[in-house]
């Protein structure tokens, strides 16, 4: 059985990795935005239609060379440890590799598009071995051809007092057909993001399209949304707040990636609901029974003397263990003796057979 500590560590790791993935997505977005010669258009969560007629929403889409060539980025903050599940995940990216329409240009089509899969440095080795396996299957030859690349990222350590840059994105596999991007990523140092840019990005964007781990959403709500309801004159108090009120505040704070584009609002309502329900299960907030979608929230929420993600992950892990743990009785298994009570009015069973 998984220990409490392992669950807790996994939970914290998930939280951190999601935060970093957001930073990387926004970093790539920033790099493309600052280099108009590379991309003419950059879109977050732009909807495309693939050859099979399915709507697809990649994390980041760019148009290059007078909007005639496309570029799709898919970011993964976490990839499954099980090989089978990882294979499934890799097979799923095929939907982004086939020709797509509804590109943001006059025709809605491009000559071709490239696909960049971005994952954490800890996942890259597993991903590469699975990619080489899946590539042998029919219909997955795109994984070995030009136009497919895997990028990875890491936070650099400070060496010899140098401290100007720290986020490094490097190419781990394959290449795109965009020379400008290839020149940027294939520098000996990789693609380096200045510290102040990363500070800006971290404070500007909080979510990517992929669903965040629950503690991540809870912390975002506690730090940036619940605190907006706080009335300093009341001190610590319990506030009655509805899901709509929370979502409305969250929409403003975690605003759209693009102006006037409601579809790209960073936070999804279902994530908010899920986080609120998780908090209610953990007894951090209470549900108002008589009023639907209304919560009694103590603000400041979850006062703790340790980092909030540790406290939250401890609570979540304890709860998870509690629900997965089966009650095991000590000693040898006992069976209850069955006692038949036959009343005088009951007929004997052999009477039925004799009929």
């Amino acid at each position: 059985m998984i220990s409490l500590l392992t669950l807790q560590q996994d939970c914290i790791r998930g939280f951190r990795r999601y935060a970093d993935t957001v930073a990387v997505l926004s970093a790539v977005y920033y790099v493309l935005k600052k280099a108009p010669r590379v991309a003419d258009y950059i879109g977050i969560e732009t909807k495309l239609k693939n050859r099979y007629g399915n709507d697809i929403t990649p994390d980041l889409v760019a148009l290059c060379e007078s909007r005639t060539k496309g570029l799709i980025f898919e970011f993964k903050w976490s990839l499954p440890l099980l090989e089978k599940l990882l294979q499934k995940e890799i097979r799923e990216i095929k939907k982004y590799a086939v020709p797509c329409s509804k590109w943001k240009n006059s025709t809605g089509k491009v000559d071709y598009h490239d696909l960049v899969f971005v994952c954490h440095i800890e996942d890259v080795q597993r991903t590469l071995s699975v990619v080489s396996m899946v590539a042998k299957e029919t219909g997955f030859d795109f994984l070995t051809s030009d136009g497919f690349a895997i990028w990875t990222w890491a936070i650099s350590a400070v060496r010899g007092g140098e401290r100007k840059e720290h986020l490094i994105i490097t190419n781990a596999y394959g290449k795109t057909r965009n020379t400008a991007i290839e020149n940027m990523i294939n520098q000996p140092t990789g693609l380096i993001l200045p510290e102040e840019v990363l500070t800006y990005l971290r404070s500007s964007f909080t979510f990517i399209r992929q669903k965040p781990p629950i503690p991540y959403t809870i912390i975002a709500l506690i730090h940036h949304v619940f605190s907006q309801f706080q009335d300093p004159t009341r001190g610590r108090a319990v506030y009655e707040i509805t899901t709509d009120m929370i979502y409305d505040k969250a929409k403003i704070f975690f605003a759209a990636w693009h102006e006037f584009d409601v579809k790209t609002i960073q936070i999804k309502r279902r994530w908010v609901t899920e986080a609120l329900e998780a908090m209610s299960v953990l007894n951090i907030i209470r549900r108002r029974v008589e009023k639907p979608d209304t919560w009694l929230i103590p603000i400041p929420t979850l006062r703790t003397r340790e980092p909030i993600q540790s406290a939250l992950c401890k609570k979540l892990s304890k709860h998870q263990l509690k629900i997965t743990k089966r009650p095991v009785r000590k000693g040898r298994p006992r069976t209850k003796p069955i006692r038949f009570k036959v009343s005088p009015k009951m007929k004997r069973i052999d009477e039925y057979f004799s009929r």
Binding site: A157, H223, S227, P232, L302
Partner: protein, 364 residues
């Protein structure tokens, strides 16, 4: 001495009394002046106290208006079976600031007066000063007095930056009172010796051209000043009001730093604290341990030695992004970010990691 406030009927009588008291040599408690930054009215204090159940159980307040925005305030705190009650004067004649004056003993100041106003945060905020700000303020005061300023002693908190060396060298940390005149030299020496230095208070005297002592006073990093000797009117005009002006300017500097969205673009107004040394993992661990007492803290990177975290002020609800890398700390105000919350956070950081230089940074 605590009943002296009863003699005051207005500003003039107060000024005359303190002038006489502090220009004659003799044994008496120093006059303590606490500067608070607030937009409240003194008359609102009983209402606020009434709203906060926990606070009203421990404190009792009675206010008498003396006219011209001068108030006599009787403050009582119940601590178990013990009750401490003293009277203070609050001068609310300047917008956005209260000046609290008292001759009460230090016990009352620390355990009743300061604690009471700390509990009223964020409605009432302290005037926080780091060493470079204290120095700047003292320079202004010196110019107003047209005299020579000599620091008589200063109190610092010091901590060795490299705890690994403790096995080789004896451990030296904690509060230290130094009877030195050259504060700068002493601090530089301590920094060179591998200490983090936090200047807590400075005692100084201003000597006039005829070598007569014009002022003997004391300044602390939390906006508490003490008059030990000298003309009260001159002290008030040249020291207290100058400090108040400085406080108002600092408040303005920390104001309007909240994250805003203008024309679809996110605008941030971060600040940076720069240090003469680079941070190590030990500092970051210490920072994590200490900052979680007053702030809800979610740490994205806790070492490397790159530190990135999101902080939320429990009392105020303001949230911040904090990154530490190399020799600087970047504080990015995010939600709400009231000036008092920004100010308090910068002070808390410096109390943990030592005094630095605060600078405004421009985002790309």
């Amino acid at each position: 001495m605590e009943n002296t406030t009863l003699k005051f009927v207005d500003r003039t009588s107060m000024s005359l009394f303190y002038d006489k008291l502090y220009t004659t040599r003799g044994k008496r408690p120093p006059l303590k002046v606490l500067i608070l930054v607030t937009d409240l009215k003194v008359g609102d204090l009983p209402i606020i106290l009434h709203q906060r159940e926990k606070l009203s159980r421990a404190y009792y307040i009675h206010i008498t208006a003396l006219g011209e925005e001068l108030y006599r305030v009787s403050l009582r705190r119940t601590m178990g079976l013990k009750e401490v009650r003293r009277e203070v004067i609050i001068d609310a004649g300047y917008e956005g600031v209260w000046i609290v004056l008292t001759t009460a003993e230090s016990y009352f100041i620390t355990h009743v007066l300061e604690r009471f106003f700390d509990k009223l945060y964020p409605m009432v905020s302290r005037l926080y000063l780091n060493y470079s700000q204290m120095r700047l303020l003292l320079k202004t005061i010196k110019e107003s007095y047209h005299g020579k300023m000599t620091p008589t002693f200063f109190t610092i908190k010091r901590e060795r930056r490299e705890p690994k060396m403790e096995s080789l060298f004896p451990k030296k940390k904690g509060t230290q009172i130094l009877w030195e005149e050259n504060v700068d030299d002493e601090i530089e020496r301590l920094l060179a010796d591998g200490f983090m230095v936090i200047v807590d208070r400075l005692n100084f005297k201003v000597i006039g051209k005829n070598k007569a002592i014009l002022l003997q006073a004391h300044i602390t990093r939390k906006g508490l000043f003490k008059l030990k000797f000298g003309s009260f009117s001159a002290f008030y005009r040249n020291f207290v009001l100058k400090a108040m002006e400085y406080g108002i300017n600092r408040k303005r500097f920390y104001d309007k730093r909240e994250r805003v969205i203008e024309k679809g673009m996110i605008q941030l107004y971060p600040l940076q604290i720069n240090y003469p040394f680079s941070f190590r993992n030990e500092h970051l661990n210490r920072f994590t341990r200490k900052i979680t007492n007053a702030y809800s803290c979610s740490i994205i990177h806790g070492g490397n030695p790159y530190f990135a975290a999101s902080l939320c002020d429990y009392e105020d609800g303001s949230s911040f992004g904090v990154t530490i890398l190399g020799d600087s700390i970047t504080v990015t105000p995010v939600t709400r970010a009231t000036p008092q919350a920004v100010w308090r956070l910068l002070n808390n950081i410096q109390e943990i990691l030592g005094d630095g230089e605060i600078a405004d940074i421009q985002m790309r």
